[in-house]
């Protein structure tokens, strides 16, 4: 009779030691960005780097606190957020719909596809003066420039998603007696969902790039305006607050989209 094979306590410890080390590394990794801030603080305080260009993080935090207490920062955040949100929706909805339509219909794709291919490479910032000329310096021009940027990202990502639908899924709908609209709604849209979310995340990132540039040039409010105005008055701490705020806005937008993705695309691997 053979005894069942068992591991000795030493062997078990050896097996576990690896994962313990991994856990330690992960714990340190949370704090490594703070290390950079600490280094910056020390260098700035000791004068190793020019304090005029790189004020210490503690002094930037102080400025941020003042701006928060006076509620000034919230006006800028709200102005930027509103422009991004409106422009984003205005661009994303037609982008997704046209991506689905051109993806499913080869004739429409052949006829209209080249128009989008020709317009896509135009840098969105380059046409900002033109858009300001047409839509004025108010919010309408911001909506439009963001919508254009978002539109192309959504259009191409959705189109790519639809073109990748396995033929067999379309056959399933057809064999089940599905209409054209049902195929569109129940096969094309869900199949393209993972790509649509990739597009939404990319578009969110580029929306903040575009809005920052647009607010530099033609706005009296917004985080981009705040960065630019601070630079012109050499209020470097305020400028850094603006940079941190707009980065955080982008970061939280992506987090929100990822949460939505987990909810609406539970079948995709994350």
């Amino acid at each position: 009779m053979s005894k069942p094979y068992t591991l000795s306590p030493e062997q078990i410890a050896r097996l576990k030691s690896h994962s313990r080390r991994e856990k330690l590394h992960r714990t340190i990794s949370y704090f490594s960005p703070l290390l950079l801030l600490l280094l910056w603080e020390i260098c700035s305080q000791t004068g190793l780097i020019d304090r005029r260009f790189f004020p210490a993080p503690s002094s930037i935090a102080g400025t941020a606190w003042q701006m928060t207490a006076s509620l000034e920062i919230f006006d800028h955040i709200w102005a930027t957020l509103r422009r991004v949100a409106v422009g984003y929706v205005l661009g994303a909805v037609p982008g997704i719909l046209l991506g689905l339509i051109l993806g499913l219909s080869a004739p429409i794709r052949r006829v209209l596809g080249p128009i989008f291919s020709a317009l896509y490479p135009v840098p969105k910032i380059a046409i900002l003066p033109l858009i300001l000329l047409i839509f004025g310096v108010g919010d309408a021009s911001k909506y439009v420039v963001i919508a254009i940027g978002v539109f192309f990202l959504m259009f191409y990502n959705t189109l790519g998603g639809v073109m990748q639908i396995p033929q067999i899924y379309l056959d399933v709908a057809r064999n089940a007696g599905g209409s054209r609209f049902q195929t569109f709604r129940y096969i094309a849209l869900p199949s393209a969902m993972p790509n649509i979310f990739t597009g939404l995340k990319l578009a969110a990132g580029s929306s903040y790039i575009i809005i920052a540039a647009a607010e530099f040039l033609g706005a009296r409010s917004g985080v981009g305006f705040m960065i630019w105005a601070s630079w012109q008055t050499f209020a470097v701490s305020r400028m850094f607050v603006g940079i941190v705020v707009i980065s955080a806005m982008g970061y939280f937008t992506i987090l929100l989209l990822e949460a939505l993705e987990r909810k609406f695309v539970p079948w995709a691997k994350h």
């Binding site: 056959d171 399933v172 057809r174 064999n175 007696g177 129940y186």
Partner: protein, 269 residues
């Protein structure tokens, strides 16, 4: 051309004089490849008849056009010439070759898919889906997502989905081709059990001689491309069949030899 007729008989025994469910006459399918300027003849002069309630397997080498014939019957492709008649009130249901289970739906939603497209009431859908999940042994997996399922489970879902709206004709395109031998045998046995209970007309495509003899009332042997039917062999085993016990029967191996001989001497083109 498709002829619909409403009289539906359910005879598991399939008497010799049973009415035809599928008639295929001189069917030809050709493809034109623009980039290579080449014409491919996929199927040439295919002729066969399937009686109501009969289980027919089509065997042939890969690329012989057997899938094309099935897709034409399913209404997914148009024939180039020739004609076929389906004596049925609804388009045939298809069980596809590879995993055709929709990954964004749960098992129950996948099975319900044809009912949903037809606008069947939710309550009725639930009752019918529960019935099919029970029949295919998927009840415990109703809320699972396809990526959590094994290949065999996925094909069970495909079979359940094809049966859910109760169409008379079932077309199966190598549904068990990608499965391991053991799983395949289990699913073959279950398919036979389901077929015996529902009395559907089944056309089953396979490249496995073994599988064809296990399942079919009749085996149609196809030649390599351009495919045509070169033999029509009745399979004499009594029903209900036991897929394991069948393998002790000498006739099984005699027929296996016969079909292999036909496949081996099929003229090359």
């Amino acid at each position: 051309m498709i002829v619909h007729s409403d009289e539906i008989s359910r005879d598991v025994s399939v008497p010799a004089e049973a009415a035809p469910a599928i008639e295929v006459r001189d069917l030809v399918k050709a493809f034109y490849d623009v980039s290579g300027d080449r014409i491919t003849l996929a199927a040439a002069n295919v002729n066969f008849t399937v009686k109501r309630g009969e289980f027919v397997c089509i065997v042939g080498p890969s690329g012989c056009g057997k899938t094309t014939v099935l897709r034409i019957l399913a209404g997914l492709e148009q024939p180039f010439s020739g004609e076929f008649r389906l004596h049925t009130s609804a388009q045939p249901a298809m069980v596809f070759q590879e995993a055709s289970v929709l990954p964004w739906l749960t098992v129950a939603q996948n099975v319900a898919f044809p009912l949903k497209l037809k606008g069947v009431a939710a309550k009725e859908q639930r009752a019918r889906v529960a019935e099919l999940l029970e029949l295919t042994g998927l009840t415990d997996f109703a809320d699972a997502r396809p990526h959590q399922l094994s290949g065999g489970m996925k094909q069970r879902v495909s079979v359940a989905r094809a049966l859910v709206d109760d169409r008379d004709i079932l077309l199966m395109d190598e549904p068990f081709g990608a499965l391991d031998e053991q799983t395949r045998l289990v699913l073959q046995q279950e398919l036979l059990r389901i077929w015996e209970r529902t009395g559907k007309t089944v056309v089953f495509i396979t490249h496995s001689v073994d599988e064809a003899l296990t399942l079919a009332d009749r085996v149609l042997v196809m030649s390599p491309r351009p495919g045509t039917i070169v033999a029509d062999l009745p399979v004499p085993f009594e029903r209900p069949r036991d897929v394991v016990e069948m393998r002790r029967d000498k006739r099984f191996w005699d027929l296996t030899y016969e079909v292999w001989r036909l496949l081996a001497v099929s003229p090359e083109h």
